[in-house]
């Protein structure tokens, strides 16, 4: 642990401290010199270079970086789906594996169960995660159903609750996926390009929805996106990653007050931030090849 604090890049420490998390000092996520390799020997791939990261309760961290750099891998590490090849991952004070927190995760591809309707797919976390699971049998046709319907309505899928996943368009699946990540009031929210297949306007609308929700319940959020505007609009911190094997090369607080509006994105400071981020990445791009 001490080790980890020492090895944190100064930049990250600064950023972390100065951001919104100042008033909530408890660490929710600690990655200590973590790296991930898939496969063995020379044929293996380093999916994530040595990475150290601290997240405090209630922070909203956006990850941006080139394709294949390990963004999804970080989320999978935190959710316990991938174990680190080196280093330690601590979530909610415990080593990953034991779930100390209620986690909600939206995967990059929607991964809906093809045998369940959209409603049942979204309801799945309520069936699994305590304390909801205890009431599942009793409430699935009542309270839980209403809860799911309300969420679906919020993303414009009211009419599709009883459809099967293959009857939906790509963007609709993404929205259902987002609902599934949110339905059980997670304390830690992991979103992997949740707005990927959406048009800009639905997208901007959902930014508002997500921000309102975050401000209301204050879950800790890790968001992977490839849209710098999105990263800055939503995040309290932005982590920029280098090309594969990815590392966090910049960890910057976003200094705008919440709630932010679309107007905020036109403020000169906001545009300047975007420009700065961009410059951080572009040399990375050229040096690291197109991937």
């Amino acid at each position: 642990m001490d080790q980890s604090v020492q090895s944190e890049s100064k930049f990250a420490v600064e950023a972390g401290r100065s951001a919104t998390s100042a008033e909530q000092p408890s660490k929710v996520i600690e990655l200590e010199a973590v790296s991930v390799r898939f496969g063995q020997g020379r044929s293996g791939t380093t999916a994530l270079g040595e990475t150290t990261l601290d997240v405090r309760k209630g922070e909203f961290i956006s990850f941006v970086g080139p394709s294949g750099c390990g963004k999804s891998t970080i989320l999978r590490l935190v959710s316990g789906l991938v174990r680190p090849t080196n280093g330690v991952v601590v979530v909610g004070g415990r080593e990953v594996g034991v779930k100390a927190l209620r986690i909600g995760m939206a995967f990059q591809n929607a991964s809906m169960m093809p045998w369940l309707t959209v409603e049942r797919n979204v309801m799945l976390p309520l069936k699994i995660v305590p304390p909801f699971r205890a009431d599942y049998r009793r409430k699935r046709k009542g309270e839980f159903r209403d809860r799911v319907r309300a969420l679906l309505a919020q993303v414009g899928l009211s009419d599709f609750a009883d459809h099967f996943p293959w009857q939906l368009s790509g963007g609709m699946l993404q929205r259902a996926n987002l609902c599934r990540a949110l339905v059980h009031d997670p304390q830690l929210l992991l979103l992997d390009e949740p707005f990927g297949a959406l048009d800009q306007f639905t997208r901007e609308e959902l930014w508002g929805t997500l921000q309102a929700l975050w401000l209301d319940k204050r879950p800790t959020v890790l968001l992977v996106t490839h849209d710098l505007r999105e990263a800055a609009y939503l995040g309290s911190r932005i982590c920029v990653m280098s090309a594969r094997p990815g590392r966090i090369i910049s960890d910057t607080p976003v200094p705008f007050a919440y709630p932010r509006t679309l107007e905020t994105t036109y403020e000169p400071e906001f545009i300047a931030l975007g420009k700065r981020m961009r410059e951080l990445i572009v040399p990375v791009q050229t040096s690291g090849g197109s991937a």
């Binding site: 169960m113 093809p114 045998w115």
Partner: protein, 254 residues
């Protein structure tokens, strides 16, 4: 409309098959000891149906009893084998060893242990129907899509949760594919057992007919068995279509 032509063309092909059989037998003057005529079989079947019917009922009852227990056991073992390394390494070889023993060699042992009659028939049906269920369920479980499992694992789901919510539903098409096979082999199993030692059931009829070289009755029994087999199979195909429609979905328009 399309449905009607489907049924008609299928009927035509099948009738054509039997017509060709009848015609060839008549043209080549095949002895009815070698291959009776379809018409002859039909007549025998209709004439003796009142005698055959109670035997058939008995066999179906044994089949269903054995099948039910066999499928239950098969699902449990299949889940174990598909999800646990140790079960796979131990149960599987034992089961395969047991399954690769022809039932004609096992049934006499059942008879010695439990007497002739219904119990060996049920046991044979049971032991035959376990295997296809185990293989398919285990295959379904072990080939499950990791992405879907991840959705639950990320929620902190237990192995049991994953089993119930991903592995089993995903295994349903495999399970139902195996049920069709299992009911068929269960039916075969109980008949086989009856042909070895029993005084009732369609298998007994077959044994007597074949020992007496009553070829027409033998084929009538075969026809009855086939029809019943098709009906049982059809039943489980219907169940399959009903419950695993999502796996065979086709675009409604394209």
């Amino acid at each position: 409309m399309a449905r009607i032509t489907r049924v008609l063309s299928a009927t035509a092909v099948i009738l054509g098959f039997f017509g060709a059989w009848e015609l060839l037998c008549r043209l080549l003057h095949v002895s009815d000891l070698v291959l009776p005529l379809p018409s002859q079989i039909l007549v025998t079947l209709i004439e003796r149906f009142p005698d055959l019917w109670p035997h058939l009922i008995q066999t179906i009852a044994s089949t269903l009893a054995g099948f039910t227990f066999g499928v239950l056991a098969g699902v449990v073992i299949g889940v174990m084998v598909g999800s646990s390394r140790l079960a796979y390494d131990t149960l599987y070889p034992l089961l395969i060893g047991f399954s690769s023993v022809p039932k004609v060699a096992i049934i006499p042992i059942f008879v010695i242990w439990f007497g002739a009659g219904t119990i060996p028939a049920i046991l044979t049906a049971l032991s035959l129907s376990i295997f296809p269920v185990v293989v398919n369920v285990a295959t379904g479980i072990s080939t499950s899509e990791p992405e879907l499992e991840d959705v639950l694992r990320a929620l902190g789901a237990s192995r049991r949760d994953i089993l119930w919510n991903v592995a089993l539903p995903r295994t349903l098409p495999y399970l139902f594919a195996s049920l069709k096979v299992a009911i068929t082999v269960a039916f075969i199993g109980s008949i086989t057992s009856e042909t070895i030692a029993s005084n009732y059931g369609i298998g007994t009829v077959m044994m007597v007919a074949s020992a007496n070289f009553d070829v027409a009755l033998l084929f009538a029994g075969l026809a009855l068995i086939s029809i019943t087999g098709i009906a049982l199979y059809g039943l489980f195909s219907f169940a399959e279509a009903r419950f695993t429609g999502w796996a065979t979905r086709k675009s409604a328009v394209a």
